[in-house]
Assembly symmetry: C2
Homo-oligomer: 271 residues x 2
Amino acid sequence: MTRQQLFEQIKAKESFLCVGLDTDLKKIPKHLLSEPDPIFEFNKQIIDATHQYAVAYKPNTAFYEAQGAKGWESLQKTLEYIPGDIFTIADAKRADIGNTSSMYARAFFENMDFDSVTVAPYMGSDSVKPFLEFDQKWVILLAATSNPGGQDFQELILAESGNKLYETVIQTSTEWGTADNMMYVVGATRPEALNDIRKLVPEHFLLIPGVGAQGGNLQDVCRYGMNKQCGLLVNSSRGIIYSDTTENFAKAAGDAAQKIQMEMAEILQRL
Amino acid sequence: MTRQQLFEQIKAKESFLCVGLDTDLKKIPKHLLSEPDPIFEFNKQIIDATHQYAVAYKPNTAFYEAQGAKGWESLQKTLEYIPGDIFTIADAKRADIGNTSSMYARAFFENMDFDSVTVAPYMGSDSVKPFLEFDQKWVILLAATSNPGGQDFQELILAESGNKLYETVIQTSTEWGTADNMMYVVGATRPEALNDIRKLVPEHFLLIPGVGAQGGNLQDVCRYGMNKQCGLLVNSSRGIIYSDTTENFAKAAGDAAQKIQMEMAEILQRL
């Protein structure tokens, strides 16, 4: 998917919501456990109920891998079920030495057909570049993450530049890709960082997790992070998919997604 | 597996060799492609031919994921085939926010029964600690990796401490685990770094990739990195498993492994 296509979808749906499919057998409604593939059944109903409000879906691979090969099948079926015009993110946080990152890229872009994959920066250029060799596919690079441990290393100040590590990660990586094939993960729990990040990458899309269960605020995120083409995908996982754990879960998820979408529609009118 | 058990195995086999199972359908002998599970068949014959010379096996998950659910099954079968006294490493380079890292830990330590998993440090404490909650299981944290891009961020000097980033990663992480449940990845292509790293973590085991195809030298690695309990697992992947690509591949892999083991036996006598 191109950046323009993503922006067109955002305008059409008046939404920049990404729904995180962190599907945990221990958290889904009990009545689904008798299905042949409970994880897929859950995702299917969530997608049916939320797709009109969402421009992206982001399954986190950890939740599928925890079920072994069967989980991997659930992931594949889920991906195939997502409507083709919606942006898909394999939240996998992969990266390895060059020839190995190429295998990961093949896993997510060829064996499966995700539009994007989240990538960890610690191993540097040759661990990221193989993901950038696919047409209309995206790297979403971890920059400033939403978790408490995100501050352990990402916020460290570097001697030569006086920058924080995550700023240097962003700056360096702009030499590897462009606003048309790279995005950055910036946690909603650090809205003040968005201001500085926008100076480094005014055009790039940012993937913002941490709204909802992790405590981030949508208005703050938009104030500091939005650009003229929206430039934001704001993710909510638990806040949507686990709104209700009875047989009413899908309806409740749809309502939760719609509520965020309506707030987003208002914000988008200011563009 | 405990540290003591690992050391006993090293002494018994006179080896600290780890064989990397980076099994690529495009590189294995053609005659295996007609097998129902060519990846597993290749691994099985490699394990049969090398297990007496190796104390650890390290399948890199990228090569299995590239085959989707079927690859995940090959990985599981491979793990089950490895003799129980040999240390197993899921070279997965995972890490995510706390509750998600817990799912990865379940994937590799419960759904599968690996002894250890490689973990990326960028997301900090809560992304690493969930892997440390399993008895006799190990985190092998990326510190100074062997690839060219390893220098992009890992070698940056930090303002406050004057340390390199990877040194701070090691130092900080010693507060999360101990020499009995953490190891570090240090590339063989940077033997000079081993000297400094040994000052920070004299007791910990280090996993050293990069000997062989990537150009690292075993003697240099041991000179700078060995401690009184050996403290090293030296990995070779392509240099062993792709020594020969005919029907003779397993025999050739065994010979390549034995050659390294014999060099290691000599080095161990100096302990």
